[in-house]
Symmetry: C2
Subunit: 99 residues, 2 copies
């Protein structure tokens, strides 16, 4: 009765996506984006984080496909690209990041 051996590459990819969510400030950003598109500076205000810090968190979230970016003049607007995240948070914690 051989058990399902999952390829390490799959586990790595999955762990990587979890890691992107394993940061309270990134969850705060996602929570803000739950209400709709936001510019970086709006997110800076809403989260109280530094601008460079927010940019880096957004980059992580974007590289993992959780958010998408739209540029308009000087501004960069971010929005959710994968709302499944909220379902996952619901399952994970009752009803946290989506409520």
């Amino acid at each position: 009765m051989r058990r399902h051996r999952l390829p390490a590459a799959l586990l790595d990819r999955l762990a990587d996506r979890f890691k992107a969510l394993a940061e309270p400030n990134r969850l705060a950003i996602l929570s803000a984006l739950h209400g709709g598109e936001r510019s970086v500076s709006e997110l800076v205000v809403e989260t109280g984080l530094g601008q460079a810090n927010v940019s880096k968190h957004l980059d992580v979230l974007r590289r993992h496909g959780f958010v998408a970016r739209r540029k308009d003049g000087l501004n960069a607007f971010y929005r959710m690209a994968d709302r499944e995240v909220f379902r996952i948070c619901d399952i994970m914690c009752g009803s946290p990041a989506s409520s």
Copy 2:
């Protein structure tokens, strides 16, 4: 139109749970436990990790309520305590840790 401000404590707790899953070897352990209860030494063999390392990973998973322990003589048997994890992995990656 004030947006849902999630309490930092909630985000911390949620991020902490994600962090527990954000490690490929811990996912490998969960994947092994998908097939049922396993002793520590069985998990050492199945994962190819060191014994101390497996013990520490199991401790993390247990502190977060993902697995439970049953002691029997010299052995410690671990089992899934929260199979929702597999649903989450499915959503996260198509059908990874549960297939």
